[in-house]
Symmetry: C2
Subunit: 493 residues, 2 copies
């Protein structure tokens, strides 16, 4: 192993500075200002911020060079193909709907929860391609132990979190021996048929430990969907009887991966960069996104499009609810902080695990299936405060590191999040410059909420006025209606 620093010069050539003489790559100084965006499964760097890569001398670097040259040579790249080659679509075609419904009505039934329904939604549209239903035991064990599973052709795809359906002892008894079961949503509608199923033990403690790296009480998804769930898991092939809708006025934002791909093509995108979020967009985020587009343009892309992709499934009690977040994101686009021409705002239907380095792989993989080839990753992605200790649950750097090393994600370009803070000399959000640290003000999530709750304004330039107003309304509605969502964990912005 050698430690190699790599960067691209303005003329497009690729430089490497290797720490070991055994490495045959020519070593040059890294020139600044440089720009580049290259990643493979062992490391990542972006822009002037060169990250040290631990790669093998032979394979890693030449593969990186190849990827980079391909990009430079063909800036008009097509959209990223989905995992497994074909985008999975489990929604029953219109013509078969009536008789499948009739069949489903005759099957044993399993009542599923809102979170289960969100997973049905995720599976139905191919976000988890090539997965075709809730996991059977072999897929479950591979997700749990290796964060991958193999495709038909023997290659592997990333799959870091188990997508499983728990059932109780009573439900197990009810469905055993049947060839298929009907899944019944909380509104009592039959939403799907699960065929050729397999029932296996729901080893909750082990599942939690291996997924979250903790079994501490208070993990939001665990408390909501695992602790009191059934002792068995049922996996099989899913047929979804119709598109999943929530009738909450937001369904038009819920574009499927196929629809997103069509939208990117309609806009003639030659690069798609995805930004996962579950919090309001402040101007630091916006700076990062516009700067990313600038860099992709400088790399030779003609029309990089941003997928602004708030998570729409289960979130913990003290996160800002989806409807308020969507109002806020709308304002950000209306007020031109992000350019509507080059931004697609859509909802990602997955529930939130808050499982840090394990979950960020899922967030990235799902966006790859929707056509993204660049993924922006921040500090402590999908992380939160430890539920019972005074510290972060995960090392804030691990998410980025694990993501860049994750098997099955080497096709995706990982863009590390550059830290932005409020620059008091300019009265705007700007990339943090450690040489003049004293000029910068970090506005924490807690601070922001405290401003909003008290109706105070944050420093000018922190967030667009319309977006800020939405937040103030949200927090004041909580106070006035006493509909305070209980807070167990510190929310992160």
């Amino acid at each position: 192993m050698a430690t190699i620093a790599v960067a691209a010069l303005a003329d497009g050539s690729l430089l490497a500075s290797a720490s070991k003489a055994s490495c045959s790559v020519p070593s040059k100084e890294v020139a600044a200002p440089s720009f580049a965006c290259v990643s493979n499964h062992r490391g990542t760097f972006f822009g002037g911020e060169v990250v040290q890569l631990r790669v093998g001398c032979k394979g890693g670097l030449s593969r990186m060079r190849r990827r980079f040259e391909q990009r430079v040579a063909s800036p008009k790249s097509v959209l990223m193909p989905p995992d497994g080659g074909d985008l999975v679509d489990l929604i029953v075609p219109e013509k078969d709907r009536a008789w499948k419904h009739a069949e489903a009505r005759g099957l044993p039934r399993i009542n599923i929860s809102r979170i289960d329904l969100e997973w049905v939604h995720v599976l139905s549209e191919g976000w988890a391609s090539p997965l075709r239903g809730f996991m059977r035991q072999a897929e479950y064990l591979q997700a749990l132990h290796f964060n991958t599973f193999p495709t038909k052709d023997g290659s592997i795809v990333n799959m870091s979190i188990p997508i499983v359906l728990p059932i109780t002892d009573v439900q197990k008894e009810l469905v055993e021996g049947s060839g298929a079961v009907a899944l019944v949503a909380p509104d009592q509608n039959i939403v799907a048929i699960l065929r050729n199923f397999e029932i296996f033990k729901h080893n909750k403690e082990e599942r939690i430990a291996r997924t979250w790296g903790s079994t501490a009480p208070g993990l939001p998804y665990v408390e909501e969907a695992i602790t009191n769930s059934g002792n068995w898991l049922i996996g099989g092939d899913l047929e979804v009887l119709q598109r999943i809708k929530y009738n909450d006025g937001l369904d038009h934002y819920r574009l499927s991966p196929r629809e997103l791909r069509a939208e990117f093509e309609r806009r003639k995108a030659d690069a798609v960069f995805a930004f996962q979020l579950r919090n309001p967009v402040h101007n630091g985020h916006a700076l990062l996104m516009t700067d990313t587009r600038r860099r992709l343009l400088a790399m030779g892309h003609r029309n990089p499009v941003l997928l602004l992709h708030p998570l729409g499934g289960f979130t913990k009690a003290d996160d800002v609810p989806l409807d308020w977040r969507m109002k806020q994101h709308d304002k950000v686009l209306q007020e031109g902080v992000l350019d509507p021409e080059t931004t697609v705002l859509s909802i990602f239907p997955s529930p939130m695990y808050y499982a840090g380095p394990t979950e960020v792989q899922w967030h990235a993989k799902a966006r790859m299936n929707a056509g993204a080839d660049f993924y922006i990753v921040g500090r402590d992605p999908a992380g939160m405060g430890h539920p019972i200790e005074k510290r972060d649950l995960y090392d804030p750097d691990h998410g980025k590191m694990v993501l860049s090393m994750a098997p099955g994600l080497d096709r995706l370009n990982i863009l590390p999040f550059r830290v932005a803070a409020y620059d008091r000399t300019k009265n705007e959000m700007a990339f943090f410059d450690p040489k003049r640290a004293e000029d910068f003000l970090f506005i924490s999530g807690t601070k922001m909420r405290s401003f909003a709750k008290n109706g105070e304004n944050p420093p000018q330039g922190f967030m667009c006025p319309g977006g800020w107003k939405v937040l103030v309304e949200y927090y004041q509605s909580l106070t006035s209606s006493k509909d305070v969502r209980p807070s167990r964990q510190p929310a992160l912005v």
Copy 2:
């Protein structure tokens, strides 16, 4: 995905019975008696016991067929090459020893524990090839999250458990800024130099959860080596100043992978099948091993050699100590229960994690590095009772399943353990026949210990008399000397 049952006929042809019409493999009935031994990373079967494989139609089966044909075509296979191509050897050559020792004496020192020393031993001889020292953060994270890490050529090797060296805050302060540190064994001798090191956080809770799938109090390795260990891990390149010896009268059993390979070659082995154990050998084990050799001979191998490979590092308090186990194993060979001509008895220097499906991968990988191409895996390998709940810590079938799916272990042939029990109609250990279950007596570890402690004899034919006598002596020595090792977990035979 299709479910395919595969078996080989006596004429060497490979049969497949596929459950889906979409699979292009010709489907035939499996003929009995059949014998075969094939595995890839998605499934495994052995002998008459055909295990269902979940494999892709194209890649998986053709790869299996290729492997099988290679074996049939060239029964005189060379020994399995080590992971990464070259067997790592970190022991300083004789000629450099004096000056390296002198250098080491001038370095900051870290006192290491007995378990740390066992890991130095493991690393020094290349059991963990291609790993060249205690893990740095990138290797650690990959082991923890993916059970693998990439080699120089970009391929991946299996590495399921973190091999790491914890240090305290004080030690960290002492060594920071130094280019290398000296590792000092419990006997106060400097045993190794760790160079180009990296210090990173020892996230104990997460390490434990992801490795054991549990954070319950009472996990033996965790209590012994993690809970009270330092808050930091130090990883780097290891140079071991001399071969690790324990001077316990057993060092001659501690053959390195290189020595084992030489021994297998001396014996002209054309197949090596490894049996990991940490318990006394009863005649059921012996039956399995002799039967495995018979099957390998029937497959066309001319001289399959057994690596009888008791684990020699840390074990939990109620396991039979190594010295007594070695006495017992010696008797098994002396009394001809296993054939000394085709059996190599040697000690595997690794500590025991009791981490079930995660650890069994390490046990298999290390033996592959010692030249084994067949690995026998039993029920609940490396498992134990849950420390605080009345159940097994792991699903007893998961070890075998996870092992057969583990990335980086597809070169190794996994042989599932056939269950043996005491056949009352024959007064001997025999493979369990479910058709006449009532004839069989299962003698648990607890039962065996209870016999030995009370000086009672087990049913004739359960264990060779000399071996049994050793066990009786051991348990009686405990009672007489009051040197009772505290028992928290049920020991498994």
